[in-house]
């Protein structure tokens, strides 16, 4: 899923400064799961903004709504009546959600309430880790299901480097060495011979930005 985190309240307050009627729009998919932009986060953020407005004497009205997914036309269509009553939409979706909403309602400014970070998974309660870079050239079959492009700090294809230290990375001792993890995983699978394989330099243009896929 896509992992994001809420922008600082100060930044959000500045962003909505010029608008009097704001729709705080949540997304019920990825950003809800990473506790950044679901129904509950919409309610807490709106309540915080209302309190801040009351303290500073601002007269502003808020609407709250969460759609199932902000990144698909079908799901944001339900907003078409509500957006007529607001000056701006404060989106708690990822960057894709913000842009899809903005493209559907181009006459209304859609402001990002979140910083979109990466594609990842929840490792434990309140901790998410990056797992995939979307490089368009997947080699997970060769590396025991652990992506060295994403999880090795140096993105090495032929690891480990000399900086691996008791399973930790020399760049950041808090982080696991991805190539140690790959070694251990391949050992469990009895496929350590894959470690001997040499990978030529990657094709960094497997996905030419901006990416586009047309199903044939």
């Amino acid at each position: 899923m896509i992992v994001a985190k809420q922008k600082p309240l100060e930044e959000i307050k500045e962003m909505i400064e010029d608008y009097k009627k704001v729709l705080v729009l949540g997304c019920g998919t990825c950003t809800a799961i990473c506790l950044a932009g679901g129904d509950k986060e919409v309610a807490v953020l709106t309540s915080s903004l209302r309190l801040a407005d009351k303290v500073s004497g601002n007269k502003r009205t808020f609407k709250e709504h969460t759609v199932e997914r902000q990144c698909e036309w079908e799901f944001i269509e339900e907003l078409k009546e509500q957006v007529k009553e607001v000056d701006a939409i404060l989106s708690l979706g990822c960057g894709v959600g913000v842009q899809t909403t903005s493209e559907r309602f181009p006459e209304i400014p859609v402001l990002p309430g979140l910083d979109t970070l990466f594609m990842g998974m929840p490792q434990q309660e309140r901790v998410w880790v990056e797992q995939c870079s979307g490089c368009g050239n997947c080699i997970l079959d060769q590396t025991g299901g652990i992506c060295p492009i994403t999880r090795c700090t140096k993105g090495l294809l032929n690891g480990p480097c000399g900086g691996t230290n008791d399973g930790k990375c020399e760049v950041d001792p808090e982080k696991d060495c991805a190539w140690t993890l790959i070694y251990q995983r391949l050992e469990k699978q009895g496929k350590l011979d894959l470690m001997r394989q040499y990978y030529p330099p990657r094709n960094f243009q497997a996905v030419v930005r901006p990416g586009k896929v047309t199903m044939e």
Binding site: E10, V44, L51, K54, V55, S56
Partner: protein, 140 residues
């Protein structure tokens, strides 16, 4: 301020059914006096409290809010009070950022046998909010 319009804070107290609510009851049975500014809301466990409940209380004009849960290690739902403590901390941060100040909110831990402690907490919180003055959003 003249005695007639002296500031009387309104303090919402979210009290866990198993400890603080029973302690408040005991304080009554013991005939202990505590300020009448406390408005008790009984909750099944302090862990049921959400950041949103705390913010809504302030939005609706509370001058102070307290959450009272079981002693650490004594929660009937194992770690409800620990979760509540984390949420209170988060709500305090938000209160600071919106300009209300984190001191208007506090978490307390007590057992059901501590009637005197409940009365003490009620006095402590009332005194603190009295010093802070009325919530700046009151009547807005």
């Amino acid at each position: 301020m003249t005695p007639e319009n002296r500031f009387e804070p309104e303090i919402v107290a979210f009290c866990c059914h198993y400890c603080a609510y029973a302690a408040a009851d005991l304080a009554g049975v013991m005939r202990l006096q505590y300020p009448t500014n406390i408005r008790i809301i009984e909750i099944p466990c302090s862990g049921t409290i959400d950041v949103l409940h705390l913010l809504k209380a302030f939005e609706q004009g509370a001058d102070g809010v307290l959450v009272a849960g079981c002693l650490k290690g004594g929660c009937h739902f194992i770690e409800g009070n620990i979760r509540a403590e984390r949420r209170v901390e988060r709500a305090k941060n938000i209160l600071d950022k919106v300009g209300l100040g984190k001191d208007r909110l506090e978490m307390f831990f007590m057992s059901s046998s501590e009637g005197a402690r409940f009365a003490q907490v009620a006095r402590e919180m009332t005194e603190r909010v009295n010093k802070l003055g009325p919530s700046p959003i009151k009547g807005v």
